[in-house]
């Protein structure tokens, strides 16, 4: 199962004051807070951890069909030191491990989290929100030879979107995210 999260860094800077007293304590472990505080760029580090937690939350929720919860602090993040443009890490939640891969630019952070370290996936990042569902459906249809007009997105009782073709549920794992100027989908492929 797979999850993703995108953070528009410019919007985050105006929407949230990350130095608000007690805010970081509600979301991040002591260990994570030390990493944020000592980072060269605390804002980016904080939103990276946040995106990792959100992406892992989505993968975890989809995997076990869990009701919604707001428990960011239960998701413990670890990042590997890397010079690559895709930063890998892990997120631990109640004994389960998720593997994350994050792309950081000056404008956004996009994170994908997956229960499997070697899961193949395709993803795309857009600067227009409206396109997102259409783009996912067309990428999916192309990959699996469906007529894109027959593929639909419907939300389940936990408001998780799912793919259907002519009314039939398709068990493919994907995730959508949007924030501010950006949106992104990720689709697990096998």
């Amino acid at each position: 199962m797979i999850g993703n999260d995108i953070v528009d860094l410019k919007l985050s800077a105006t929407e949230s004051n990350i130095y608000r007293p007690r805010l970081q304590e509600k979301i991040f472990s002591e260990e994570e807070r030390v990493i944020i505080r000592t980072s060269e760029n605390p804002e980016t580090q904080l939103w990276l951890f946040w995106a990792m937690k959100e992406a892992a939350y989505k993968a975890h929720q989809r995997r076990f069909n869990l009701p919604r919860r707001f428990n960011p602090k239960d998701f413990k993040c670890r990042c590997e030191i890397s010079e690559k443009s895709e930063l890998s890490g892990t997120v631990h939640i109640q004994g389960f491990e998720y593997f994350s891969s994050s792309k950081i630019s000056a404008e956004y952070i996009h994170c994908i989290a997956s229960a499997s370290a070697s899961a193949e996936r395709i993803y795309e990042i857009f600067s227009i929100k409206e396109k997102l569902k259409k783009e996912l459906i067309s990428a999916f249809s192309e990959r699996y030879n469906f007529t894109s007009g027959a593929v639909q997105l419907l939300k389940n009782n936990y408001r998780i979107p799912q793919l259907y073709c002519d009314g039939e549920y398709l068990k493919h794992s994907f995730s959508l995210s949007h924030h501010g100027r950006f949106s992104a989908y990720v689709l697990a492929v096998n």
Binding site: S16, K26, W50, R69, F70, K73
Partner: protein, 84 residues
């Protein structure tokens, strides 16, 4: 404090974070912070902190965990006020 008062104070607290203002028109216990008001999840932490300040209570992580609707928040506030 009556239920009505708590809900009114909650409405004032969430107002700056609401992205879907129509959601405020029928603000009641069923109102969902994320789905109905489209408060972004990072700002949900601000709502929790504002609630703590407004009611002078502490919302632990286990309580925050289930704070997804106005009704959830109202119940947590009532419980914490009783504990004071």
């Amino acid at each position: 404090m009556t239920e009505k008062e708590i809900i009114e104070r909650l409405k004032k607290i969430v107002n700056p974070y609401v992205q879907r203002k129509e959601g405020l028109e029928n603000f009641n216990k069923e109102t969902d912070f994320l789905n109905d008001l489209q408060i972004n999840s990072a700002n949900l932490v601000d709502v929790v902190l504002d609630v703590e300040d407004e009611f002078d209570i502490e919302i632990d992580n286990d309580s925050m965990d289930g704070m997804l609707t106005v009704g959830d928040a109202k119940e947590i506030i009532e419980t914490k006020l009783k504990e004071k």
